[in-house]
Amino acid sequence: MKPCDLGLVACGRRAGEQLAQMLLRLGYRVAAVECSDPRGAAEAARALREAGLEAYTRATVEAERWQDVVRQVARLSLSYDLMAVKPRSAEAARLAARDPRVSLVTLTPSMARYMDKSQALMLREGGSVVELRLLPLLRGGDPRAALRGIMIIARRASAYDAAFTVTSGARSPWQLWPPASARALLEAFGVPPQLALLALTAYCRKALDKALAGEGR
């Protein structure tokens, strides 16, 4: 199965080309790029496709209330391939997990408390995938808080059988994570090796399949 990174940030062709080179060197074959401008995201995705990658566009919605999730997702899902929601409250997290248009539920390390049993149940019912961003680990300073949050989310998701994927959140090629290192990090957290592999391959495909099937659109 092909390794994938569904959390890249690139606007325009040039940024896409820069990322594509490094993605290929690291062994990635599937990617999704995010940009506030849909045309910029489409151009970056086109550059990735021309380099030989399977590329998609994505948008992330930050929402406090469930009404915001519904409204913004309905608007943006027409312009992007993949929809991700970064919930700011428990109710937004629950709704995002069950919304048929949302493929990824982005949980930052500080939102580890939202990843509980009922959230996992809703994720399983709705077919959404939890997204873990590794970018906070590359910031300077003490990585303990970020490590702890990511570890809790990954371990709970694997314990409750919820699908989860790891993304880099890279804005430049130098923020990308080699797939072997991302997998090793999950294994070091205590995630079973098979699930760690699935997090980089099959669960990404699951999120893409849900987005491309256009359920509910």
Binding site: L26, L138, L176, P178, A180, S181, A188
Partner: protein
């Protein structure tokens, strides 16, 4: 009168006899109790000895297990990797090793660095490909720490693990393949 006196004497004699028998019985019982107590004490001493012997046997078997673990050959893993740098020039091996050690310490602490016994076994300065040795139980932590290395010697860099092997022979074979690939490109 004499009959009464005789009866009283007989009663007193029988009472005395009964008292004497009771005292004899009590004495016998007392002696038996003493013997039982003595036996119990002896049993207790034997039990203590037995406990000591069992504890010594367990301790020696545990010590034997621990020594066995120490005597067992250390299992190592060889991580084949290559360095991608911004300017395309691979950094010197000392800086690569230093960066990996620093990242491992940042992620997993000084104890892990000590337990991992990290060593850069081989490094090709022209292509930036190398072999890093680590202990088998810290392999995941070292691989994850390698991803935290983003700068080597002042320039931006990424360490890309290619494969982890159990023998240096296989690692060298993988590295050879990798070098051939790099030469082609």
């Amino acid at each position: 009168m004499s009959i009464l006196a005789a009866a009283a004497a007989a009663a007193a004699a029988s009472a005395l006899w009964a008292a004497w028998r009771l005292s004899r019985r009590l004495q016998a019982l007392w002696e038996r109790l003493g013997a039982i107590e003595e036996r119990l004490e002896r049993l207790e001493a034997a039990q203590r000895l037995l406990n000591k012997a069992v504890a010594a046997a367990l301790a020696s078997s545990e010590a034997e297990d621990m020594l066995g673990k120490l005597r067992r050959r250390r299992r190592r893993r060889y991580i084949v990797f290559y360095v991608v740098t911004e300017d395309g020039r691979p950094p010197p091996p000392e800086e690569v090793e230093k960066a990996i050690l620093k990242a491992t310490e940042r992620l997993a602490g000084q104890l892990t660095v000590a337990l991992a016994r990290l060593q850069l076994i081989y490094y090709h300065p022209d292509t930036g490909a190398g072999i890093l040795r680590a202990s088998h139980d810290t392999k995941h932590l070292v691989l994850a720490a390698m991803a935290l290395v983003r700068r080597i010697g002042g320039s931006r860099a990424i360490l890309v693990p290619v494969r982890t092997t159990g023998t240096i022979r296989t690692a060298k074979r993988v590295l050879g393949l990798r070098l051939r690939e790099l030469k082609k490109t």
